[in-house]
């Protein structure tokens, strides 16, 4: 029992050290914002800042889930597909007259089920997360195509559009959702026992198991979180583009990984914080928006974003040496 407490204390100390990590990513973000403010008069305006937050919200939400998974040394490649299926389930329900709340709940449920299947396969089958989620990525995308016969679901009711387009006191509703989810899941990770268990599973799963943590249950929960958050993001996206697209979210899993990694999550597991990931997503969002405003060619943008991802990981490595 005493060893149990010792392990947990160690982990807590580590989390404290990560505040430093957040600070460094944040200063990078601020530096970038100062640069873009000087480069374009349109960058640092209330309107554009809201736009950046709006554009970032979809990636940030899935990146929160990805952070949980990465902390346990896993990866979830199925989130892009889970986004699509949740958007389609919700859209199809809405088009067929299902009340909005129920349609959204069913959409969220589809993501939870996808996450549960990922978790169960990984834990009970003792299979590598990379392979399992690669498989479900394809299965779920296929399902989305089969259900819709490849045709986008359009004609969604006006009220549903509020989620992705509405504003509360000039703040886009989807940005509020993003902050809300960051708060809730940030709390779970840093303040609850479950959070501590998740870090423990990522640092040393065997030690975690020996100290009495139900590692299997913890891992399954992590994938359910990821599926749920992908569904949240997918529903926001469907609302924003006013249709359920079977092709929604292709390639987004990599943006989620990039956001988490820029935000200080270690691919080796055991480290990562939700606020860091949010800032990481903002770094990518600000970079894209700023470069667009400066009129930088679309092709050059791809190169620059890649460079930033590598630099972020490199800076982290140097600091740890």
């Amino acid at each position: 029992m005493s060893s149990n407490i010792g392990v947990l204390k160690d982990i807590r100390k580590k989390v404290g050290e990560e505040n430093f990590q957040i600070l460094s990513v944040l200063s990078g973000l601020v530096a970038m914002m100062i640069f873009f403010s000087m480069a374009s008069p349109y960058f640092f305006t209330m309107n554009n800042m809201m736009t950046v937050a709006l554009q970032t919200s979809i990636i940030a939400i899935i990146a929160i889930g990805q952070t949980f998974v990465l902390i346990t040394t896993g990866i979830d490649l199925s989130i892009g597909s889970n986004m699509a299926i949740a958007g389609i389930v919700t859209s199809l329900c809405l088009v067929n007259g299902v009340p909005m709340i129920i349609a959204i709940l069913l959409g969220l449920l589809s993501g939870i089920i996808a996450g549960l299947i990922n978790g169960l396969l990984i834990v009970l089958g003792d299979l590598p997360p990379f392979v399992v989620t690669l498989g479900t990525m394809s299965i779920v995308r296929g399902l989305a195509l089969v259900i819709t016969k490849g045709i986008p679901v359009s004609g969604l009711p006006k009220a549903f559009r509020y989620i992705g387009n509405g504003k509360v006191f000039d703040i886009p509703f989807s940005v509020i959702i993003m902050f809300l989810l960051t708060g809730i899941f940030g709390f779970i990770l840093s303040k609850t026992k479950l959070g501590t268990h998740i870090y423990a599973c990522g640092s040393n799963i065997e030690a975690a198991r020996l100290s009495g943590i139900n590692t299997k249950k913890t891992l399954i929960q992590v994938y359910v979180f990821s599926g749920f958050l992908a569904a949240c993001s997918g529903i926001v996206l469907a609302s924003r583009i006013a249709s359920g697209q079977p092709s929604a979210g292709i390639g987004y899993e990599l943006f989620a990984v990039a956001s988490a990694v820029i935000g200080g999550t270690s691919l080796a597991g055991g480290e990562g914080i939700i606020t860091g990931t949010l800032i990481g997503a903002l770094v990518i969002g600000v970079l894209r928006n700023g470069l667009n405003l400066m009129g930088v060619s679309a092709f050059l943008q791809e190169i620059l974003i890649g460079v930033v991802i590598i630099l972020a990981v490199f800076a982290d490595r140097i600091k740890r040496r």
């Binding site: 004609g155 249709s243 894209r288 009129g295």
Partner: protein
Amino acid sequence: MKKTSKLLLLSSLFLGLATGAFAQKKFVLITMDSMDEHWLSVKKGAETKAKELGDVEILFRAPAGKVDPNEQTRMVEDAINQKVDAILLAPSDKSALAPVVERAIDEKIPVVIIDSPIDTEGYVTFLSTDNYAAGALAADTLAKLVDEKGKIGIINAQPGAGTAIARSSGFEDRVKEKYPNMKVVAVQYSNGDKAVALNQATDIMTANPDLAGFYGSNEGSTVGISRALEEAGKGGTVKLVGFDFSKDTITGLKNGTIQASMVQNPEMMGYEGVGSAYDSIQGKKVSKHIDTGVKVVTAGDLK
């Protein structure tokens, strides 16, 4: 004597039946993706013609995700190995698909190219909208809407696709030649992802508050821009000329965020494509290029 003639009759009857049952010609139709309504219309046209002909079966193939030339190459290879009677291909990359199309031609399988050009000869026919001319027509349409002056933003589908290149260069060349007071200030690539196009259009409007108009060169880009205009409350103020026809573009035309859309005739591509492949198998002469036309659709045309 009687017996032999009877036997002959019987066997020929049997042969006739057998050929009737087994002479079904297999045509493979490979499009760029399986989601865009454009391709589903091509498929519909092909199936209509196949039904008319009676002895043609259409096998439909398309990459499950988005545009993927490698996946298409694999599909053509499979069709060759399957020894199909004809291949109808919408190449997503004009040079990447060229070698495998040449292989099919070497194997004596007639190839019909649909929608986008390919960098090789020897195919039966090429059916397409003249995309370059359509781009120029889009420029003329937008010029009229913005009184031939002001800043223009362009959102293209994917870089590298022949169709996209022709549609954007047709547009840009026409602006340079005929409308000196119009200026293209931004060119982006959405890969047909509506959410991406929405973000790009928003950023272009932020950087250019006095933007006069947008040109979207495919369905996804057009719908994404129209959503951005709606979000910014600039529908109708910033003019949008788009491409293609779908439920979502109809919505845009109706709510005034899209002023005009360049509509192709994809069903014709599939229909005439199967017809040309069939004719060429029968040894008939087929013209090397068939223009399936494009027309400007506005909200007024929807009534």
